[in-house]
C-alpha cells in the first residue's frame, strides 16, 4: 500500500523564496512543496465520507496545517498560487509536476492575495461522495493547471483523464474566487452547523444553515425554502420525506 518511487525532499524550515525561479529543476522547491501541501490539505478537508461524521481531530489537525501554511505564506509575501502544468503522466507519488509556469509579472507586482477557501461546495460534495477513495489517490497525482489571468481561473487541462477531481477542484477554486478573502475559520462555521449543540437540539431549535450532507437529500423533496426562515413545519415534512426515502432504500 505504501507508495514507492521518488524520494521527496522532506519539508523543513528552509526559507527559499528564490526557489520558485530556480525551481525549474527536478527537485521541487520549498514553495512548491508548500503549495502542493496546501492543495492536498484543502482537498482532504473537502472530501469526507457521505454517511459518517468526519473525524473532528483529523479535520482540526489539517485545518491547523493549512492555517500554518497560510501564515507563513503571508509572511513571505508569497501568498499567491503558482501556476503548474501537469505532465502527461502523473504518478501517484508525485505531488508536483516538473514544469512550472512562472507567475505573471502583474501578480508579482500586486502581491495578490488569493482568497482563502470558504464553505463547502454543494455539488462538489455530491460528486465526491461516491468515489472519495479513488479521488483521494488522484488528488495527489494531478495538479490542475491554472492560468491566472486577473481574477478568473480557467481550467486548461490537456490531460485525458479529467475525472471528477478536476471538475471538483475547479469548483473549489471558483468558489474561492467568488468569496471574499477569508481565513480557515470559515471552514468551521460549516462544521459547527453540522454538530448540534445538545442544548439547541433539546430546545427543538434547528440550526439555520443547511448541512452539507443533507443537501443531496434535499433535492428529493419539494423545493421548499431551505434557508434560515423555513418554518418548523416544512422542516418536519422534509424530515418525514427523507426518512421515507431512507427507509425505502
Amino acid at each position: 500500500m505504501f507508495v514507492r518511487g521518488l524520494k521527496r525532499k522532506c519539508f523543513d524550515g528552509e526559507e527559499d523564496i528564490e526557489g520558485t525561479l530556480a525551481g525549474i529543476k527536478a527537485i521541487p522547491s520549498y514553495n512548491l512543496q508548500r503549495q502542493s501541501l496546501l492543495d492536498m490539505s484543502l482537498v482532504k478537508l473537502q472530501l469526507c465520507h457521505m454517511l459518517v461524521e468526519p473525524n473532528l481531530c483529523r479535520s482540526v489537525l489539517i485545518a491547523n496545517t493549512v492555517r500554518q501554511i497560510q501564515e507563513e505564506m503571508t509572511q513571505d509575501g508569497t501568498w499567491q498560487m503558482i501556476n503548474t502544468q501537469s505532465t502527461g503522466q502523473a504518478s501517484l507519488d508525485r505531488l508536483v509536476s516538473t514544469d512550472i509556469l512562472c507567475r505573471s509579472s502583474r501578480e508579482q507586482a500586486e502581491g495578490k492575495h488569493v482568497p482563502g477557501y470558504s464553505t463547502f461546495n454543494k455539488d462538489f460534495e455530491g460528486d465526491q461522495a461516491q468515489d472519495s477513495s479513488e479521488t483521494m489517490s488522484t488528488a495527489s497525482s494531478v495538479q490542475a493547471p491554472r492560468n491566472l489571468q486577473s481574477n478568473v481561473w480557467e481550467m486548461e487541462n490537456p490531460q485525458e483523464n479529467k475525472g471528477n477531481f478536476q471538475k471538483s477542484l475547479d469548483q473549489i477554486f471558483e468558489t474561492l474566487d467568488n468569496k471574499s478573502p477569508n481565513s480557515v475559520e470559515d471552514l468551521f462555521s460549516e462544521v459547527d452547523n453540522s454538530y448540534y449543540d445538545l442544548d439547541t437540539m433539546l430546545t427543538g431549535m434547528m440550526s439555520n444553515t443547511k448541512m452539507g450532507h443533507c443537501d443531496g437529500l434535499e433535492t428529493f423533496s419539494s423545493p421548499t425554502t431551505t434557508t434560515s426562515n423555513s418554518n418548523c413545519k416544512s422542516d418536519l415534512n422534509e424530515l418525514d420525506h427523507i426518512v421515507e426515502i431512507l427507509v425505502e432504500s
Partner: protein
C-alpha cells in the same frame, strides 16, 4: 471476522475482551492450568460473544452512527458476575456477563418441555431441584448511557471509587454514576464559543488509578492536563500542564500533527503517565511538567516519510500504548504488524511481528529490524517494503503476568513468556 478495535484484560487477567468494528464483543477466558501438565500455561478460549452496539442513524444530522466499539473497560469483580463498559461513538453500555450452570427441574405445573400440565392430572406435589446443565454464559445490558455526547467518544475510564466513570469525546468529558443513566456531569468542556476558533481537541482521558479525584486528558497539540475534581465542578482549569518544548531542529509542517497524542495511560503505581504520539512514546513524571523523563522512538525511520503518510492518512493513525504489570516495560504498535517493547530499566527495546506467516504457534518470536540505510542485511526489512495497511493500534498486557494480546487488523494474537 471483523476488524478488532479494542482489546482489554480484566483486573485479574482471567478474561480478555475484544471489541470490533461490527459492534461485537468477544470475551476470552483463560483455562485453569491443569494439574497433569503444570508447565503448560492456561490458554485463552472463547467465553462469550455478544452484540454490544448496533448501527444507528442520526436523523437530525443525516449521519450514520457507527457501531464500532471504541473502548472496553472492565469493572473490578465484586460478585460472581463480570461487568464491563463498552462504548461506540455516542453511547456507553454496561454489560453483565454471568454464568448459568444449573437449572431447576421438577416443576409441578409444567412438564420438562415447558408445556402446561392439566391441573386435574396432578396427584402429588414435588419440590423442584436444581440440576447441573451445560455451562451457559449470558451477557445482558444493564445500563445504557446515551445522549450525552455531541462529538465522538474516544475514551472511557472507570474511577477508583468504582461508583463513577468518565467518558470523553473530542471536546467534552462527562462524569457518570453507574446507577444513573439519564444524567451525567460535564467536567471538562473545551468547546470554544465560536467553533471557527477551534484548534485543539481532546484525544484521550483516564482516571488516576488510586486518587478518585484526579484524572488526565491529552490533546491534539501534544499537551496533557491533569485535573483535580475537588477544585471546582468544571475542571477547565488544570492543576498541572505537561508539555515538552518543541525541538526547533525538527520543525516541519507536520510537527503539530505528529505531536498529537493518541493515547495516555497512567502507570499502575500512579506515579507516571505514558503518552503516545505518532513517532514516540513518552513517560512523564507527574511531578515534572516541563518535559518527559523518558522518550522512546517507535519508528523514527518514518520521519522522512511524513509527507507520504500525510497523503495516505496514515499520519492520523491512533496508536495505543500499555504498561506491563510492574511498570518496567512499555509496549506499543507500529506498521507491518510490528509491535515494540521498551524496557525502562535496561533501556533495551525489541521489535516483534504478529503474523501467522512468519511465526508458528508456540515458536519463539524472532526480533525484527527495519533497515534505514542503503545496505539491507538478511532478515531486515526496508522502510519502503513496510505494509502500512497492517497496523497494530491496539495491544494489552496481562495485569500481573507476561502475557500480551495484540490485535492485528482482524486477528488477535496472544503471546506468553516461554516456559522452560
Amino acid at each position: 471476522a471483523d476488524i478488532i478495535s479494542t482489546v482489554e484484560f480484566n483486573h485479574t487477567g482471567e478474561l480478555l475482551a475484544t471489541g470490533d468494528k461490527g459492534g461485537r464483543v468477544v470475551i476470552f477466558q483463560r483455562e485453569q492450568e491443569s494439574k497433569n501438565q503444570p508447565h503448560r500455561r492456561g490458554e485463552y478460549n472463547v467465553y462469550s460473544t455478544f452484540q454490544s452496539h448496533e448501527p444507528e442513524f442520526d436523523y437530525l444530522k443525516s449521519l450514520e452512527i457507527e457501531e464500532k466499539i471504541n473502548k472496553i473497560r472492565w469493572l473490578p469483580q465484586q460478585n460472581a458476575a463480570y461487568f464491563l463498559l463498552s462504548t461506540n461513538d455516542k453511547t456507553v453500555k454496561l454489560w453483565k456477563v454471568s454464568e448459568r450452570d444449573k437449572r431447576p427441574e421438577g416443576y409441578n405445573l409444567k412438564d420438562e418441555d415447558g408445556r402446561l400440565r392439566d391441573p386435574s392430572m396432578i396427584t402429588m406435589l414435588r419440590v423442584p431441584v436444581l440440576r447441573p446443565m451445560d455451562l451457559m454464559v449470558e451477557a445482558t445490558p444493564r445500563r445504557v448511557f446515551a445522549n450525552a455526547h455531541t462529538y465522538h467518544i474516544n475514551s472511557i475510564s472507570v474511577n477508583s471509587d468504582y461508583e463513577t466513570y468518565m467518558s470523553a469525546d473530542d471536546l467534552r468529558i462527562n462524569l457518570w454514576n453507574f446507577e444513573i443513566t439519564n444524567q451525567s456531569f460535564n467536567i471538562v468542556d473545551i468547546k470554544p464559543a465560536n467553533m471557527e476558533e477551534l484548534t485543539e481537541v481532546i484525544t484521550a482521558a483516564e482516571f488516576h488509578p488510586h486518587h478518585c479525584n484526579t484524572f488526565v486528558y491529552s490533546s491534539s497539540k501534544g499537551t496533557i492536563r491533569l485535573c483535580d475534581m475537588r477544585t471546582s465542578a468544571l475542571c477547565d482549569r488544570h492543576a498541572k500542564f505537561f508539555e515538552e518544548p518543541e525541538d526547533p531542529s525538527n520543525r516541519s509542517f507536520f510537527s503539530e500533527i505528529i505531536s498529537s497524542i493518541s493515547d495516555v495511560k497512567f502507570s499502575h503505581s500512579g506515579r507516571y503517565i505514558m503518552t503516545r504520539d505518532y513517532l514516540t512514546v513518552k513517560v512523564w513524571d507527574l511531578n515534572m511538567e516541563n518535559r518527559p523523563i523518558e522518550t522512546y522512538q517507535v519508528h523514527d525511520y518514518l520521519r522522512s516519510k511524513l509527507c507520504s503518510l500525510y497523503e495516505n492518512d496514515c499520519i492520523f493513525d491512533k496508536f495505543e500504548c500499555v504498561w506491563n504489570g510492574s511498570d518496567s516495560v512499555i509496549m506499543t504498535g507500529s506498521y507491518n504488524n510490528f509491535f515494540r517493547m521498551f524496557d525502562r530499566n535496561t533501556k533495551r527495546d525489541v521489535t516483534l511481528e504478529a503474523s501467522r506467516e512468519n511465526s508458528k504457534p508456540r515458536a519463539i518470536l524472532k526480533p525484527r529490524k527495519v533497515c534505514v540505510g542503503g545496505k539491507r542485511r538478511k532478515d531486515e526489512i526496508s522502510v519502503d517494503s513496510l505494509d502500512f495497511s497492517k497496523k497494530i493500534l491496539h495491544t494489552a498486557w496481562h495485569p500481573s503476568e507476561n502475557i500480551i494480546a495484540v490485535a492485528a487488523t482482524n486477528n488477535l494474537y496472544i503471546f506468553q513468556d516461554k516456559v522452560n
